[in-house]
Structures are given as C-alpha cells and as structure tokens.
C-alpha cells in the first residue's frame, strides 16, 4: 500500500536526482523531488549536444525523465527547514509544503562559474566574449545576427578552474572535452571559420575523448595552442584583441578574434552551503559536499539518513553523474532496508 512505503525526499531534479528517483521508485519507495527551477533536467536541459558522441541533450533528458510520472516533483520550491524526528526527517519548504521523509538525497548539482569574476577577460563588457553555457544556447536557439563569414573563434580553457586567483584549485573535469566538442560544432556550423583552443592541459580521460580530440585536429582543422590568456580588449573595428602567453615557447602572442568562448568551470550549487547547514553535511574546502568516506563510500554522509549524489560532491560527466545516482539509490536502499554496505575490509 502507498501509505506503508518508505519515503525518500530528493533535493534537486537534475539528471542525478531524476536517475536516483527512477531507481528508488523501482525499488518500491515513495519518492518526492523538490526543484528550485521551473523545469526538471538541470543544466543538461540547456545544452545542445553532449560529448564525446554528439548525442542531443534532449536524448539524455528523455532518458532521465523516463519515469517522471511515477514520483512527485515540486518545481519552483526550495527547502528551508528540516529537523530529525523518530520517523526520519520533517522538512518544510518556502511554499510551506511539508514532508515526512525516511531518507534524504541531496542532488543540488553545480553552478557555472561566473565568468564576470575574471574581469580582465571582459565578459559582460565586450559583446562577443561569451561562455560555454552561452554557446550552447546559441546552438539551441540560433546565432545572434551578424556577418557569419570567416569568423575567428578562440576557446579559453580553465576559466575559474585550476585558478588560485578565482579561489578554485580543482579541475572542473568536463570543460576540456566540452571545448573540443564545441570547437568541432563551431567548425561544422561555420565552415569558413578559424578555431583556436587555448589550453592549460588537455584532459581527455574518458572513453573516446582522445579520438574526439584527434578528429578535432585532423578532420576539423582546429588549432590547439598551449597558452594562458592574459587579457581581452576590443579593437576599433569591434573585433577582439587577446593577449596570451604560449607556454610551450614562453612567448607572448597577440591575436585578433571575433568570438571568445570562456570555458567556465563548475562551482558548488548556490544552495549547497544552506543544505550543508540544514542537514549537517560537511563540505570540502571548495564547498562541495564531503562524503562519509572518499573513494569507497561517496554517497553516504556523516549525517545518518542523508545521502549525496551527482556534481554536488564535485565535477562529474553525465555518465559519472548517472552512475553516481544509481549508486546513491542503492546506498539508500541498503540504509532503509537496515542493511549496510560492505566496508573495504569485506565485513558488514
């Protein structure tokens, strides 16, 4: 009977929350999701295609939402309060919707690094300095009006990632492959264009990423320059003048380009700190949720009954996020069925 089902409340209806919800529902739990946005799907809903296979993001969303009708989603709702009681957690929201849950799964995801913070890159000042997120919107919604012949594009890797000045020492992991994917898409969209990628390293760690990178060079003629950007300015004719240091030759370079695409990295979600406080889940020094145990128990937290999944614990690809969500569903299932996950010593 519905009333006897144990209830799992999930915070965040991106692909992690949706995938975990699907599996928890299949395992026989009542599932509710609170989502602050108007729609489900998180950031993936804003993307055009995904790497490395160039699948449409709609396909990923359709997959993640395959069981959407089987659980309750509360859109435009934010969790404001939670307390433990004998039956688990009593939770309230800004819409005054109350929940009694046996377990909590936090999947608030990430926020895109605010490229305005890199003032010298001119985002928000020079019209044709855009971000990777903007570029996905351009591909989805059409390019703004301009003469599209012989455009020169520059992709700037590691914006707000591996950057002590931004306060983010970690690698955002997905931006290298995204840049290569987007560079190929630009060449396909504008066959006359010249495309440059200014990278720190190229971290092509996943299956078929290296092949995509090889194709970018050999098939699509994209120029990869190991360089760091110093500043962006605007020329008299409204083109962009960039100054970079080629870090292989240790020489400064100046280039004139039409578009700069800043590969903004991942940062903890805006509500991560609030959720951390409400549920007593610690964060690491970068603000991502800290699991109970790194490497072996990344979905459990030190707060009993509270679980984490997806990019809330650190940058992840779509594949990793979906796998992590399934893992979290299983961890919750073990918890609610009063069993425990075997430890690294093989004991229960």
């Amino acid at each position: 009977m519905e009333e006897t089902k144990k209830h799992v409340l999930i915070v965040g209806a991106g692909i992690a929350g949706l995938e975990a919800a699907t599996h928890l529902e299949e395992l026989g739990y009542k599932v509710s999701i609170i989502e602050k946005q108007q729609v489900t799907g998180g950031h993936v809903k804003n993307w055009f295609k995904t790497f490395p296979y160039f699948d449409a993001s709609e396909a990923i969303i359709n997959f993640a939402e395959r069981s959407l009708s089987k659980f309750d989603v509360y859109n435009e709702t934010q969790l404001t309060y939670a307390e433990r009681n004998d039956n688990g957690f009593k939770v309230n929201t800004d819409k005054n919707k109350q929940f009694q849950a046996d377990a909590i799964l936090l999947t608030p995801g990430f926020k895109v690094f605010d490229a305005h913070k890199k003032e010298e890159y001119g985002y928000g000042i020079f019209q044709h300095v855009i971000t990777n997120a903007d570029l996905e919107k351009y591909f989805r919604n059409g390019w703004p009006e301009r003469d599209n012949k012989n455009l020169r594009f520059g992709f700037i890797h590691c914006v707000g990632s591996r950057d002590a000045k931004s306060g983010n020492l970690y690698c955002s992991k997905v931006c290298c492959a995204t840049a290569v994917k987007q560079a190929i898409e630009v060449r396909q969209h504008f066959p006359d264009s010249e495309v440059y990628c200014f990278y720190m390293d190229l971290r092509m760690f996943g299956k078929n990423y290296e092949e995509m990178f090889q194709a970018a060079q050999e098939k699509h003629g994209i120029n990869f320059v190991r360089a760091r950007l110093s500043e962006v300015n605007q020329n008299f004719d409204n083109t962009l003048l960039i100054k970079v240091e080629d870090t292989l030759t240790s020489r400064p370079m100046k280039l004139t380009l039409d578009y700069i695409v800043l590969m903004s990295g991942m940062e903890p979600a805006e509500n991560a700190a609030q959720l951390s406080q409400i549920f007593g889940v610690p964060t690491d020094e970068s603000g991502f949720f800290a699991p109970e145990k790194y490497l072996v128990s990344e979905n459990n937290t030190v707060s009993e009954g509270v679980f984490v999944a997806g990019t809330a614990t650190g940058p992840k690809t779509i594949t990793e996020t979906i796998n992590d969500a399934r893992s979290a569903a299983l961890a919750i299932h073990h918890y609610l069925s009063h069993s425990r996950i075997p430890t690294e010593h093989g004991k229960e």
Binding site: H116, E119, E120, G122, Y123, G124, I125, F126, Q127, E231, N233, Q234, N235, F236, N238, L241
Partner: protein, 356 residues
C-alpha cells in the same frame, strides 16, 4: 560593442571610502620637476576652491620607492622610511595620508598590507624606527591617492568649473584617454576606485567634466617607464616600444587628450611623442601637434579656468594650445614663457617634426 553595465558591475565591487577633509600631503620626488604646477594646483583647489584642510610640510622625505623598485635598497629600509612619514603625520595631528606619487601610494599600500598580514614585521619596523630616530608612529586611518580625492570632489569642482571637456565649436565631448599608473591598483585592486582592470578614478573625472573616455586595446599597457625599462639605459628601446604600442593602438580613436595620475606616465607619454616624431616622422594627430598629455591636477586646473602658464603647461613637450583652443579657453599665448611680468625664459628650440 562595449556594455557599460558590465563596467558598472565591476565599479560597484570596488568602492573606496575617501575622507573629504584633513589631509597630510606627501610630495613626490620627481613631480615638481616634471610637472611643477600639479602639486601646488592640488593644494590650491582643496584650500582655496573647496575650503579643505591639507598639511604640506617640509619634514617628509622620499618614500624610497624608486630605489626599492630598482632593487638597490632592502624592503626594511623602505618600511622604516615610510614609518617615519607616518610618525610625522601623527605628530601633526592628521590621520589621512595622501601621497602625491602613485609609486609611493603603491609602496604605502604594500607596506600596510604586509603589516596587516605579518604583524611581527610591523613590530620589527617599530623597533627599527625607534632605534634610528626615537620616533613612534600609528598607521593612517585612511591612505588615499590625491586622484582619489579629486575623484571624490569632482562634482564640487564641476560646480566651480569655467570650462568643460567639450569642443566649444561642435558641442561634442572631447575624446579622452585615461592612463592610470600601474601601482595605483594593479597590485591591490580593492585599493583603487573601480579596481585594476577598468579603473574608474580618472574616468569619473573625465565624465563629470563633460568628456568621453576612449577604451582602446592597449589601455592597460605600461606607459613605457616600467622602472628598469628606462632606468637601465640599455633597456630604453623597450620603453619607447611600449609607449609607441599605446599610441598606435589609440590613434584610430583620435583622442583629444591623455590624462594620467602617475609621475612617470605623463612624462613618457609626452616626451616619447617628440622622440617618435624625430625617429620616424610620426605624429599621432592630424594637426601635427601630437596628443596633449595632462596630469589630473592640470586637467582640474584647466576646467577651473586657471592660467595655463601658472599650471606649468609650458613644461610639456606636446603643446597644450590646441586643447585649450578646442574647449574655448581664453589665454594669452605671449605669457607662455613669462614668469611674473617679465620674460625671463628664452624660447626653447622648436622640434624638427612636432608642431609647437
């Protein structure tokens, strides 16, 4: 297209509290030679136009910044000299330290930040100052550059303005290049009005007084001084190449003037125009006179209608007369080389290419 809102977003982040009265003024080592009217004009504007109190006394010394940046004295020596300046300020009953020079401003900022981060260094310098001079000091309540003060008072100056940065014939705003000294905010962005990347300090004055700021690609590039670029004679090619790059970059915008807030920048931007003209026959204005380069005090003085020759504008290599004519400034060209009522300066030799 340049989005003003993007700049405003940055300016909001870098607001600076600027005291509006009672300044202890520390003069620059070199400005009185380069731009002899600038510091006296600053004092005159504050005291006579705006009724402020400013102490300009004779006991302070160099901050030793040039020696420090040329690596010829240790940092502790510079710190002890700076501590003595603060001691003089305290002794005079002032709390707001206002160094004329941008390099000094950078030196003071860097030292105060060092002492904040490393209190043990401050204690050591206290001991050293006591041993060397028997003096004690307190840190200033506010450290501001005089360009911060003029920025804060720009609308008060506007109320008394006789001229605007507007072409008197066409009514068009003058196109102004602003060049902010490197040591103003590049080391500590939050110590400058508007930060380091899009500083507001000179832009605010220009806009308040009717001008329009030119944002050209090499705006952030060094003026060409760069200490060792010029101080080491063998490096002077770097210096002029740097300055030339700036002029080449700003030329298409046809600027009417350049305004600066550093001792060295106007010197290099002004004098190298003569050298570039002699070396390459190149002048960066269609009229052949070059782009006038002013300190912000000189600019404020012009806006207030002060006698340009009492402002010391005859000490500029690039003639300022075309600028004065543009804004409709009434002046007597024959007074240019007079001191008082007598002509005591001989007319300088005219350059080969630049018109004067």
């Amino acid at each position: 297209m340049i989005e003003l809102k993007g700049k405003e977003r940055i300016w909001e982040k870098y607001q600076k509290e600027i005291p509006l009265d009672r300044y202890y003024y520390a003069r620059s080592c070199i400005r009185q030679n380069f731009w002899p009217g600038s510091e006296t004009t600053f004092i005159k504007i504050l005291e006579e136009e705006l009724g402020k109190t400013i102490l300009d006394e004779e006991h302070h010394t160099t901050c030793s910044g040039i020696a420090y940046h040329c690596d010829v004295i240790p940092q502790e020596t510079t710190m002890t000299i700076v501590a003595r300046q603060f001691s003089l300020m305290c002794e005079s009953g002032y709390e707001h330290f206002v160094p004329s020079c941008i390099t000094s401003f950078g030196i003071y900022t860097e030292i105060l930040e060092t002492w904040n981060e490393h209190p043990e260094v401050e204690e050591k310098i206290k001991r050293m100052l006591m041993e060397a001079t028997g003096r004690e000091f307190r840190k200033p309540k506010f450290l501001v550059h005089p360009s911060d003060v003029i920025y804060a008072l720009r609308f008060d100056i506007l109320k008394k303005a006789k001229y605007r940065l507007v072409n008197a014939k066409t009514g068009e705003p003058l196109k102004c290049v602003e060049h902010v000294g490197c040591h103003y905010a590049k080391m500590f962005p939050d110590k400058g009005v508007g930060g380091a990347e899009f500083p507001r300090v000179l832009m605010g004055m220009i806009e308040a007084w009717g001008g329009e700021v030119v944002d050209y690609p090499e705006r952030r590039t060094c003026c060409g001084f760069g200490f060792r670029q010029y101080m080491v004679q063998a490096n002077r090619g770097y210096s002029i190449a740097c300055t030339k790059r700036k002029f080449d970059s700003m030329e298409p915008y046809k600027p009417d003037l350049i305004v600066t807030n550093c001792p060295g920048c106007p010197f290099f931007l002004d004098r190298w125009q003569y050298v570039i003209a002699e070396m390459e026959g190149k002048v960066y204005t269609e009229d052949g006179y070059g782009i006038p380069v002013l300190t912000y005090e000189e600019l404020a003085g012009i806006v207030l209608g002060y006698n340009p020759w009492e402002l010391g504008l005859q000490m500029h290599q690039v003639s300022v007369e075309p600028l004065l004519k543009k804004i409709g400034f009434e002046y007597d060209p024959l007074d240019k080389f007079k001191v008082g009522n007598q002509t005591i300066l001989t007319l300088p030799e005219a350059p080969g290419v630049l018109k004067v």
